[in-house]
Chain length 158, copies 2
DNA sequence: CCTAATCTGCACTTTTTAGTCAAGATTACT
DNA sequence: AGTAATCTTGACTAAAAAGTGCAGATTAGG
């Protein structure tokens, strides 16, 4: 249950494009430099974001990437789904099925229930976060996080 | 942010051993059969659980695996840490640092703040779940999940 | 039309994770 | 002691994810 490289760099690139603001565009060499990844790799990640409909690219001289829509309409949960998939997908239990009583695409599996709970818990945070929320500094972000309704316990973030 | 094979099978094996109850032991061939993985792979996973201190093994004829301590004292969060690591580890931002203003082991990174929030959110569920909780059927488990204090929104689980 | 700056697509290599194999060590039973 | 059932270990192979390379397409500007 770790973040994949795709998720990490993908989100960071998206934030960087968001920073450029309406009309401002960011090129692959710029992002490569800023995030410390190779241009080729940045390009690969950007492709995923583009195919996901979060950014659009302009080719040719003076080209680069821009947000495909306003930052406040880009939900981080959706971005993460595209970049790295979900923790709990029901297909998982089908393909990784065992043979005995529990965990056999069983209608009665407590483990599956737990995964679902974890997924819901994550969604609770990621579905409320938009790119707009990330375009602020860490302190403001922490304030935002503490304000997530129903996310008690997150108060432990300092 | 997907479950790794280690996490999935590891937890399932642990549950299976838990089912055997105090004194009851489960062998590698049995687990292999039940979970639909090869004996060798089951052995590899069990080793992780053993080194993590969750199960203990008895060798020789009539050997097998037993819980190292009572199910209610085995916290699933701890098991997951051993099986697959955590979503947000502060070392991550050091090793994957970029070079520009944001995300450079920066003291001011909103993305990092979000990862922390997600981690806390997951911990909220996994630190409250013990193996005992998993040794019940899915329906009871769902009831348990809904009762997590502060986990509003999890009510959407049906 | 030419050039330089840019994105695009796909195939490739490297690294990590998943999964296998085989030889060895331990124990219960006779 | 001998045998069969069991776990233990480390090295091996296979698959997936991460990361690279390159030839091509697009655009702005002269
Ligand atoms: S059915 Fe998927 S974990 Fe049990
Ligand atoms: S410092 Fe780690 S994501 Fe920004």
């Amino acid at each position: 249950m770790k973040l994949s490289a795709n998720e990490e760099y993908g989100l960071r690139c998206l934030v960087r494009i968001g920073y450029a603001g309406e009309g401002g565009n960011v090129t692959i060499p710029e992002m490569s430099q800023a995030e410390g990844v190779s241009p080729a790799y940045a390009a690969k990640i950007l492709r995923v974001l583009r195919k996901g409909g979060f950014v659009k690219a302009a080719r040719g001289k003076d080209g680069g990437y821009t947000l495909a829509r306003p930052a406040e309409s880009i939900v981080i949960g959706d971005v993460m789904d595209v970049l790295g998939g979900r923790i709990f997908e029901s297909s998982f239990c089908d393909s990784h099925a065992g043979q005995a009583a529990i965990c056999t695409r069983s209608v009665d599996c407590s483990v599956r229930s737990l995964w679902r709970a974890v997924q819901v818990s994550v969604d609770q945070v990621l579905s409320k976060a938009t790119l707009r929320d990330l375009l602020q500094n860490e302190e403001d972000m922490n304030t935002w996080v503490r304000a997530i309704p129903g996310a008690k316990g997150l108060h432990s973030i300092q």
